[in-house]
Structures are given as structure tokens and as C-alpha cells.
Amino acid sequence: MPRCRPISAASGRKRGTDMARMTMIEAVRSAMDVSMARDEDVVVFGEDVGYFGGVFRCTQGLQAKYGKTRCFDAPISESGIVGTAIGMAAYGLKPCVEIQFADYMYPAYDQLTQEAARIRYRSNGDFTCPIVVRMPTGGGIFGGQTHSQSPEALFTHVCGLKVVVPSTPYDAKGLLISAIEDPDPVMFLEPKRLYNGPFDGHHERPVTAWSRHELGEVPDGHYTIPIGKAEIRRKGSGVTVIAYGTMVHVALAATEETGIDAEVIDLRSLLPLDLETIVQSVSKTGRCVVVHEATLTSGFGAELVALVQEHCFYHLEAPVVRVTGWDTPYPHAQEWDYFPGPARVGRALAEAMEG
């Protein structure tokens, strides 16, 4: 399976190879395309995903290619979208549905938590629920409180759901194919601020397009990345940073800017969690910073810190630090005072090093 490639100056498709540079949007689309071509049971639907191809264009061209009974527009009813997906899965299909923004998933929460998550358990495997629920997540686009949320902890708290958050186009495609092939329901959160490039929190600078970034290299065909495996984005010995989604790139920027020799772990999957990689790293560095965009209280960071404490207590040389969104709704105008950018992560790194 191809791993991260060395940086290459070439941009766009390289002739004679099976590798193209893709945005995360194209990578997600390619994952669905490959899956739909391989398996006629894969169907894709959601609000505006049919003819138009989705408001972020992730499903563009799929209806034209696979027909409107395999890729179609849904009524604006998230509970309906997830509920019908569960029914289709009970029949034997593999629905991969889109919730237009993660902030819109709440009407579907009943279907997700009480139904999708428990169908295998309560029927002892008589029925299962192999669905994927894709949703753009996170802030950084002046989306205000209804287009910026990071609700991953609301899913990790539910037994029976898997939760995936990619940070690169390569991972997005491989993880989404894994999610579609997974026998259980997978929440697939796509950091929308990463759709076009590796946003590192420096909103005042233009973002490097994925077409000019080595992690934008994505094979055309089928490949998978296992759900439950983290990736170390930067080797280091001073402090471990645990992050996922957009915050991986923010953490990398903070590491470069502070000069602190941090090891940056990109979780990729929140549930199941690659505890082994975390424990190995923290046991080595003795220090840990946990970073996420979601609010602090009862956020996924709380789980991570608890696990680090349970498994690495005798290796810790300083209290574990969390950098997160503030415990408020996501504001509109004060976006960059809310978003945990590289300056805040940098201060947290320094704090972890001092303790």
C-alpha cells in the first residue's frame, strides 16, 4: 500500500503513473467512485448530492456515471437520510450518505445513536448496519455557529459507531473506502477547511493547494487505510502532540514555529483508537499536548488525556495540556479568536515543556 510520498515539484497528474494530485474533495469523490464501480450495492445520497454533486461538489459526476438510483438527491431530512440508509443496509445495500454540514446531523442523532449503533448488538448480528455518514466538519470558513461545529465526541460517546477524521486527501480516500467496506456504521468527518489545502491556522496567508503538496498525491484506483491506525506526521522526542483533522496541520506549524521537537500524531480514527501509538510516543517523550477544534468540556481530548494518564502516568513529566475551541457556541466575527491556531498550540507546547 502506498504511504506518504517524498515531496515532488511536479503538480497535477503525472503521466504514465497511477498517481494524481487531488484535493480532499476529489479524493473523497474518487473513493465513492471506486467503491460504486466495484460494488453495485454501494449507493450515495443526501441533500443536493445528485445532479448538482453536493454543495462542496464531493459527489459531482457520480449520478451521471452510476445513474440516479445509485446517486440521488434526498429531501432535507437528516433523520430521513440516515433512517432510510439504515433500512437499505438492513436490506443488504451499503449506503454512503452525506449530511450537508456536521452541524445539521442532530435531527439524525436518534437514528444514529439508538438505531444504527445498536442494530448488530440488539439483534445479535441478525441485522447489521454497514452505513457511512459523511459530513463536512470544523471551522475556519466564517460559517458561524451552524456551519463550523466539530461534533465528533457526540459520536465517540455512542457505543457501536466508528469515527474517522482524515487530514489529507490520501488518507481521506483510503479511509473512506475502508469505511464503505466496513461491516459497521462509520461516521466520516471531513474537515472542510482542508478540502482544498493543508490549512495550518495561518488565515492571513494563502493556503498551499493540495495540487502542490505531496500529501495531495492520491492513487487513482482502489486502496484502503485501516480504520484504527494513527500516523506519526512528525517524529520528535520533546513532547507528543495528539491531533486529528485540521489541527494536525496547525500542530505541525506550531512545532516548526516554536522549534520544539514535538512528535505529532495524527489519529485519523478516533474510534477505534490507536492507543498503542499514543502510549509508545508519550512513554518516550514524557509530555503530551492534546489538540482539537471542538469545545473543551467533555470533548474527545478528555478521553485522550484520561487514557494517557492511565497508561503513561509513570512516564509523565508534566501535566497533559489541552488546546481546544472555547466552551461557547462557534462565533462568526471572532472566528480567529476562537479557532485554536498555531500561536495557542505553540504556547501549550511551551507550557508542556516547562512543567
Binding site: G67, T69, A74, G80, G143, Q145, P329, A333, Q334
Partner: protein, 448 residues
């Protein structure tokens, strides 16, 4: 593989069969004596996925929108038995005819002076939209949503309400504020997220709030506020008050569960609420047939709940007002809810993040059979001899000047990325009535 798609042609059901053949097959199947042999006679199933009549590159076609003659729909008494007016859910109440005359039983409710005010409100809203769209392109705000073509709905509706009544609006009813003389500068302060923003920078542009003007805070999610309108109305009834509520929803959002919850609560408790559905034909890229499904109209959704349901020409200021007043009277007389479908057309993009040329013909709005609400009211007033082309042109210029003056005033207090802005403290305040210690600690950590 192509997925086995069948495009339903004219007179054909999605399965590719003519309706008659399926009917005869059904009869044949029903007359079969043995279940086993009957099963064999059924064809394989196929999924029906509705499609709009036309797509980009096609000729616009609204032949499926049946437009009754203005004045042709009767006006029942407000205490009519809902069962007797089921047909109103399938017709369109219209007052202004092609010639600009106000005709029929729903006409004659507004004075010339009131109509001139109504025209002014619609023109103001249109000019306001034009300036704010430009401001968005100039980077003075992050986002905007315009009303082009739908001005009559909210502007005329507001006039059927009284002070103290409460709207639970969506993001395309700013006419409720304009027609209630809410200061434009305040709206712009909100849009620009500046230092005087009534929402302190917390909310997306156009998500206004004004309890004083009967305008519930817009959430930005869909349909959630519809059932809240019913709750507000129930509260007014519980307290033996005289005030009524109005809920607002778009055609697409009627698919949400909250829409159906609203109807059942309104029906059960006969809540004094007007349930408005603005059918502007498009839910971003999704045509109204996806939310409507097999129901003839959106208004007809009310019938199963026993709620009187009216369908009205949403581009006809007089008709909108007349129907809204009828519904408001019913509510005030404690006769319960009314469902109103406004048949209109979203001429512009869904928002500044949308490009409709990707999913509908560019010239579709020109083919919309119910015309332009501003031009139709203007024509009526000219015909009545109380307005003229000259006065209209002059009013357009004056109104634009008024909007520009308001914009200058608002911009003095900042725009999204320049000048005065809300404080970072505003992030932390207002989450709770009293700030809990953990948020105070976070505010201090942020340096405020």
C-alpha cells in the same frame, strides 16, 4: 455500469410502462386465484427518483405550474369547516390580473396609501439586497442571502400582523423587519458584524433578532423554528393572551421532522398560529418535487392534519396580504391554525455561496409565470392613477440613496474585516445568564 436508469417519459411510469398496462397488470394480478401464480405476474421493482422538467441548457418550462385566473378562487368565511375548503390547497389565490387590476373576492382590503407603502417596502428590500450583495463581494461581510422575486411574501405578510405578534422566520424574510420599520442600519450592523452588531458578532450575517419587532432569533438550521412558533402560540392561548404567532419554512425544509411535529401540535391544540410555507421552487439545487413527493402541493400537507390550507400567488402583494389577514383572523378568533403555501420563485442564488446556473436554466426566472412582485404592484398603482413611471423612477433613486446613507452610517462602525468590531469578550458572554467559572477561566486565558 449505468445503474439501469430509466428516465420516465411522458405518460410513462418510472418502470417504463404506460399507466394503463400497469393498471391492467394489477387487475390481472388481483384476479389471479393462486398467490404463487400472482407473484409471477408482477414485474421487477424500480426506484422512482423525481427530476425537474428542465436542466441547464434546456428551455425553461413551467407548464406544470397551473395558474388559475385572478379572482377566480372563492373567499370562504374564516370559521369555515376545513373539510369544505380542501380544494383551496390545490388552487392559487390571486388578486392582481395581467392588466394590473385587483379582482375577485380577496381584493379590496388595502387602501392606495397602504399599497404605496407596500411598494416602497418591497423596493427598499430589493435595494437593500443589491447593496448587501455588493458589500459581500467587496469583502465587507462573509455571506449574504437575498430575496429577489420573493419580496411580496414577507413585506405583505407583516402588514396582517399586529404589534406583539411573533414571527419565527427563516433567512429569507427580512421583509418582516423592513415592513415593520426596523432600522436598516441595525440590519447592516448585524451583516457587517461591526461594533454595534446587535448579535455581538456571534451570528452569521442575516440571522437577525428583534423581540421588539416580533422577529424571533434565526437559528440557521432548518425547520427547527417552525414547531417553536406553534409552542409560542400555545403559550399565548394558555395565558389567554390576544397575540398570535407565525412560523416560516421553505419548500425543501418541509421534509424535516419538525415540520410534521409543528402540524400535529398545531392541529391537536388548535394553536393560534399561521404556518407559512414559502415555495420558491428550489432548495439550493434541489427542485421542489423532492420535498413534495407525491403530494399535489405543499399546502395539501395540511389537509391530513385537518388544518385549513390555502395556496396563494406569492408574487401578488394584495393576495398575500388578503390570505395572511384571513389566517390571522382565524387565529385571533381562536379557530386555530392555518397553513399557507406561497407560490413564488427564487430568482437569485440560494446564498452568496451558490451558483444556480449549475442546476437550472439561466433564463428560468424570466419564464416564471407569476412575474415580478414589484412590477405587478407598480402596474396596479399606475392603473389606479396614484403612481407613475416617473414617480417610480424617482422613488427607486431615493430609496437607493436612503440605503446607501444607511450603509455609510453602518460602515462608520466597521465591517467584518475593518474598523470597529465586537470584542473577544463577546465570545464568552451570553452563553449563560451568569458566566460559569470554567468559561471565565477560558476568557481570562484568551486574555480578556
Amino acid at each position: 455500469m449505468a445503474g439501469g436508469v430509466e428516465e420516465p417519459g411522458p405518460g410513462k411510469l418510472p418502470g417504463g410502462m404506460a399507466p394503463f398496462s400497469r393498471g391492467s397488470e394489477l387487475r390481472k394480478a388481483q384476479s389471479g386465484r393462486e398467490a404463487g401464480s400472482r407473484m409471477d405476474e408482477f414485474s421487477r421493482l424500480s426506484l422512482h427518483v423525481p427530476e425537474p422538467a428542465v436542466r441547464p441548457g434546456d428551455q425553461p418550462d413551467f407548464s406544470n405550474v397551473k395558474i388559475p385566473k385572478a379572482g377566480s378562487v372563492p373567499r370562504p368565511e374564516v370559521d369555515v369547516d376545513p373539510e369544505e375548503i380542501r380544494d383551496l390547497a390545490y388552487s392559487i389565490i390571486r388578486v392582481l390580473n395581467r392588466e394590473g387590476e385587483a379582482v375577485g373576492p380577496w381584493a379590496g382590503l388595502l387602501s392606495d396609501e397602504e399599497l404605496l407603502t407596500g411598494l416602497r417596502h418591497m423596493m427598499l428590500l430589493r435595494a437593500f439586497d443589491a447593496r448587501m450583495l455588493m458589500a459581500q463581494r467587496q469583502g465587507k461581510t462573509s455571506f449574504y442571502m437575498q430575496h429577489l422575486g420573493e419580496e411580496a411574501v414577507s413585506c405583505a405578510f407583516r402588514k396582517a400582523l399586529r404589534k406583539g405578534d411573533m414571527n419565527f422566520p427563516t433567512y429569507r424574510q427580512a421583509g418582516l423587519l423592513i415592513a415593520d420599520d426596523y432600522p436598516m442600519v441595525e440590519m447592516m450592523n448585524q451583516i457587517f458584524s461591526n461594533e454595534l452588531d446587535p448579535c455581538h458578532g456571534r451570528q452569521l450575517p442575516v440571522m437577525y433578532t428583534s423581540k421588539a419587532h416580533g422577529f424571533f432569533t434565526i437559528s440557521g438550521n432548518l425547520a427547527t423554528q417552525y414547531v417553536q412558533a406553534v409552542g409560542w402560540a400555545m403559550a399565548s392561548a394558555i395565558k389567554n393572551d390576544t397575540r398570535i404567532a407565525a412560523g416560516w419554512i421553505g419548500d425543501g425544509s418541509t421534509a424535516e421532522s419538525d415540520f410534521h411535529s409543528a402540524l400535529v401540535f398545531a392541529s391537536t391544540y388548535k394553536a393560534p398560529v399561521i404556518l407559512n410555507i414559502v415555495n420558491n421552487q428550489w432548495a439550493i439545487s434541489t427542485f421542489q418535487g423532492i420535498a413534495r413527493g407525491g403530494s399535489g402541493t405543499f399546502a395539501a400537507r395540511g389537509l391530513g392534519f385537518g388544518i385549513p390550507a390555502l395556496r396563494v400567488d406569492g408574487n401578488d402583494y394584495l393576495a398575500v396580504y388578503a390570505v395572511a389577514r384571513w389566517a390571522a383572523e382565524r387565529a385571533r378568533l381562536n379557530l386555530g391554525p392555518t397553513l399557507i403555501e406561497y407560490v413564488t420563485y427564487r430568482v437569485g442564488a440560494h446564498s452568496t455561496s451558490d451558483d444556480p446556473s449549475a442546476y437550472r436554466p439561466k433564463t428560468e426566472s424570466e419564464a416564471w409565470p407569476l412575474g415580478d412582485p414589484v412590477l405587478r404592484l407598480k402596474k396596479h398603482l399606475v392603473l389606479r392613477g396614484v403612481w407613475s413611471e416617473e414617480r417610480h423612477a424617482q422613488a427607486e433613486a431615493e430609496i437607493m440613496d436612503e440605503v446607501i446613507q444607511a450603509q455609510k452610517e453602518a460602515e462608520r462602525h466597521g465591517t467584518l474585516h475593518a474598523g470597529g468590531r465586537p470584542s473577544v469578550r463577546d465570545i464568552f458572554e451570553g452563553v449563560y445568564a451568569e458566566m460559569p467559572p470554567h468559561i471565565r477561566r477560558q476568557r481570562q486565558k484568551a486574555g480578556y
